[in-house]
Amino acid sequence: MFIIGERINGMFKDVAKAIKEKDKAVIHTLALKQVSCKASALDVNVGPASANPKEAMEWLVKTIQEVTDITLAIDTTKQDVMETGLSLCKAKPIINSANANEEKIKNLFSLAKKYNASVIGLTMDKVGIPKDSEGRMELAMKLVAACVEYGIDTSELYLDAVILPVNVAQPHAKEVLKTIRDSKMLADPAPKTVLGLSNVSQGSPSQSKSLINRTFLAMAISSGLDAAIMDVTDRELMDSMITAELLMEKQLYCDSYLEAYRKK
């Protein structure tokens, strides 16, 4: 499973403070911690409160790359901030994210081509997030078509069926799972699937959050999920992920399978 560590995000107070005070140590620690917890990539988001997001993105990417050359997922809605981030990445980067809105497709798929980046494509557009899987699939198809149009391999597209918090949008979870299953049939090679996992437990009591996250992750893995943006430092969540993958025969069983995964 491809795991994108979610922790370097200006929405978290410690990261916002580190960006403001240019405190490299905080970012270094967060980056290395996530790498040691087996993140495959790190999400990089300057947060909503940043006064100069472009400068903040540049500082964050450079600071992270002082300690690791891991893949980075540049996470921003602003085109110029995205380009700044992508231009600095040492490893093949990930765009987080495009959606099925035509203008977004044009802007971000051009960047993906220019910087040889993978793209996370959200199944939403100007109207919003469809309520069922059929609506999501329609937008997923647009994103797959965009790959063909811009000459990007469909296996470089990570379709994100956009999970909403279960406390306010309970019917969405099963629609997202169906979308994950169905989207494999959209192209050959099949697009990959990703989830912004923590969103599912947003607003739920803190003692339930981790449980909701790991339960949904296991369900999504059984539906064929390829990647997740999640809290890689949550050990129980990682254990659930490893176990779900084991049961899906992605890893060969042995008694110490959790340890075996972490030795990889």
């Binding site: 060969l252 042995c254 008694d255 110490s256 075996a260 030795k263 990889k264």
Partner: protein, 301 residues
């Protein structure tokens, strides 16, 4: 039509054996002998078995190749290395078994030291399959061969700690054995690595069990192991060894068949293992060794 060449994400670890003339095994980045996919930097190697006592159960057709050398392990080793061009010598310390001569660790250690002096090819050292005695003998022998970078065996899930510790402190590599069970093979490698032993010094042996399980089971487990290793399973991405001679010459057909039956049996077994990813073949009959070396050369192209 375009040929599809599989690209694997990982490679098999390389294990170096020996000190005087070290050889490297493993390092495969694809399946052996598939044109275009196989970029195996180190070809499979053939080891010949040498016992520290005359193997009474061996049939005459096998014994006759070694003559009086069967009574002297040093001569026997020299014969295999010099005349029969063995890449490695596999010393089996059969005399230490309580049911044979019950030779002491010290005696076994002396034999090992003499052979190390007499030949320059790398050594594989295995015990007598008496677990308790083996622990004592192998710990002593590992220390006696310190710095010689041998391959010691055989660690099993029930009995791996003493041998692992001995190899760790004397700098040898280790054979980890599971009874035709890929899950146990993986688990044992984890257990050995948990003792701070390097995964790059482990060679896997999938034992061929008794009572009806045979070559075809081992063959398919070896294939699965190699595919898992190449697919990124670090606890299975090790080179593999097979004790071909031991398996072939204990069959009724090899022992009692026509003159060449045993040789053919050994060659057929070894060829199958070669194609399922074997890195070291431990063999007995010089003619079988000659044939299999030809096969390796021909398959490599």
């Amino acid at each position: 039509m375009e040929r599809l060449i599989e690209k694997w994400q990982d490679k098999i670890s390389e294990v170096v054996i020996g000190a005087k003339k070290p050889i490297t095994i493993g390092g495969e980045t694809g399946i052996y002998f598939i044109d275009g996919e196989d970029k195996c930097p180190n070809p499979p190697r053939v080891a010949m078995e040498v016992w520290d006592m005359e193997p009474e159960a061996w049939p005459e057709v096998l014994k006759t190749n070694f003559g009086n050398a069967l009574k002297d392990p040093v001569e026997w080793a020299k014969l295999c290395a010099d005349k029969f061009s063995a890449d490695l010598i596999c010393l089996r310390l059969a005399s230490t078994h309580p049911d044979t001569k019950n030779a002491s660790s010290q005696e076994a250690g002396k034999t090992l030291e003499k052979i190390l002096k007499a030949v320059s090819v790398p050594l594989i050292v295995i015990g007598s399959s008496a677990p308790e005695k083996d622990n004592e003998v192998m710990a002593h022998c590992a220390n006696a061969a310190k710095g010689e970078n041998c391959l010691f065996g055989i660690a099993t899930q029930d009995n791996y700690k003493t041998l692992t510790a001995a190899c760790l402190s004397s700098g040898h590599s280790i054979i980890s054995e599971a009874p035709i069970d890929i899950n146990i093979a993986k688990q044992l490698n984890i257990l050995i690595c948990d003792m701070q032993f390097s995964a790059d010094k482990i060679v896997i042996h999938h034992a061929t069990g008794a009572l009806g399980y045979g070559l075809e089971y081992t063959y398919s487990i070896m294939e699965r192991t190699r595919l898992a290793g190449l697919s990124g399973d670090r606890m299975l991405s090790m080179p593999m060894i097979n004790f071909v001679g031991q398996e072939a010459w204990r069959t009724k057909e090899a022992k009692t068949g026509q003159k060449d039956t045993g040789i053919l049996w050994e060659v057929a077994t070894a060829t199958a293992y070669l194609n399922s990813g074997a890195d070291i073949l431990v063999m007995n009959h010089p003619k079988a060794v000659e044939q299999i070396n030809k096969a390796i050369k021909a398959l490599k192209g």
